[in-house]
Amino acid sequence: MIEVRQLEKSFGAQLILDGVDLRIDSGESAVIIGRSGGGKSVLLKHLIGLLQPDRGQVLVDGDNITRMNERQLLRVRRKFGMVFQGAALFDSMTVAENVAFGLRRHEHLTEAEITRRVAAALDVVDLPGTQLKKPAELSGGMRKRVGLARAIIYEPQIILYDEPTTGLDPIASDSIDHLIMRVRDHLNVTSVVVTHDMRSARRVGNHVFMLHGKKIYAHGPPEEFFASRDAVVRQFIDGVADAKETIL
């Protein structure tokens, strides 16, 4: 379970998060939506301790990770897998080396077992036979799939997705959505997906949080959230720009 209490974060004079509260139960698939630059990725990075808040707490299975140093955080992070917006693959390594990275570092397995698990993880993300390719040889969608394979190979309890469909064509986005659902259902993991893709949010989440005005403005199950009559929520869901934001 992940719980965020009164989280505040500024970069210099710019306040990004101002008293964010949220709770994600084990096995839940949470989607965090909000406008670009609204602090969604910043919030996600706090959940895994990549950023430290100015105030507030982040509790992972009851442990307050905001008080931990980097070495203590490494132990907590073994519960997590994270898929980055730009995939963040290690470009000096092959696909197989990228996917096997966590296994080689933390588990004492034979080379044959590592090879077998890499192949299995690549099968899950529909990329069999790409082991020897370099990240530069892959398309954006393929890179994100490799990023997902790298995140799931050591069977984490929680997977964080930072804008998994951004920059992809509709077909690639659809396949990534299916992949997120497949991983969620087969591995029974807690998922946290940050996105501003409404179709994706509707499909992959069973709890939607909307970040607006530096706080969680609204949240609820998808059917309830997407039926909301609140003007701010409706404007975001329908994608309607304010008059002052309309470029003439």
Partner: protein
């Protein structure tokens, strides 16, 4: 004005100037050094990564170090010969080359060349990893960037630099000998004898200690600049340039103080 208020105002002023930035940077390098040494002592780095870095820093720097060593030895022999010839001390030319190559020119020039090649490469590689979120990806994979990125480069650099320095010294003296004998016509036996007579083992030992320290400076500044670089291509470019400039300046300044210390030690030992 009370002292504490004055101190507070002064610290605030310093914090907003380049002095403050410089002191902050110095503090961060000190923390990075402490963490890297602590990690190195507990053997958290993988042997495979260490060997690769020794290959990259040591083997791949051979050509540049050999060329620098050879031509420095040759030009030093010629210049020394020109001066010594006036007072009929031609055969002492290689002794000057031997002492300077072992204690000063060998370690310093090798370190400066490696700083240009390796320091820049380390800063560029780590800087690119930072701006493309690869460092964050490492952390999410429960891997400490210091264990995985800094320690192998630091240890490899501190192993490779003394070895490269020995190579540079040997080639420098050897090429100086060839120029002295073949080009300048100095008597080969006296030339070699005087070099051995005046070049002490202690000169080489001081040179090796210096190069060991310079290796640490190059790796730490390169890693620090890479890990703390600004966003975008401009940030990586600036980090690369600063890594080379700051490493080179640090090497030259450190060399001066080490020479002073070693002179005192030499007086006590000999």
């Amino acid at each position: 004005m009370p002292f504490s208020l004055l101190l507070c105002v002064t610290m605030n002023f310093l914090g907003q100037t380049w002095v403050g930035e410089w002191l902050t940077g110095l503090g961060r390098i000190a923390v990075l050094t402490r963490d890297a040494v602590a990690s190195a002592l507990t053997f958290k780095a993988s042997r495979r990564d260490l060997l690769y870095q020794i290959y990259f820093i040591g083997i791949k720097s051979q050509s540049v170090v050999l060329i620098t060593g050879a031509f420095t030895g040759m030009v030093l022999t010629v210049q020394t010969y020109i001066q010594f010839h006036k007072i009929k001390m031609d055969t002492a030319s290689l002794a000057v080359v031997g002492v300077s190559m072992c204690s000063e020119l060998g370690p310093v020039l090798t370190a400066l060349m490696v700083a240009g090649r390796v320091g820049a490469a380390i800063a560029a590689e780590l800087g690119t990893m930072r701006v493309t979120e690869q460092i964050d990806a490492l952390r999410t994979l429960a891997t400490h960037p210091i264990d995985y990125l800094v320690v192998p480069r630091l240890v490899a650099s501190m192993i490779a630099l003394p070895l490269l320095t020995v190579e540079s010294v040997v080639v420098g003296i050897g090429s100086g000998y060839l120029v002295g004998v073949q080009l300048l016509g100095i008597d080969p036996v006296y030339l070699w004898f005087n070099m051995l007579k005046f070049t002490g083992v202690i000169d080489l030992e001081f040179g090796l200690i210096k190069s060991f320290i310079f290796g640490g400076i190059i790796a730490l500044i390169g890693c620090y600049k890479g890990l703390s670089c600004g966003m975008g291509a401009e940030g990586v470019g600036r980090a690369t340039t600063e890594a080379v400039v700051y490493s080179s300046i640090s090497i030259l300044i450190t060399n001066f103080f080490l020479t002073l210390v070693f002179q005192r030690v030499a007086v006590l030992v000999l």
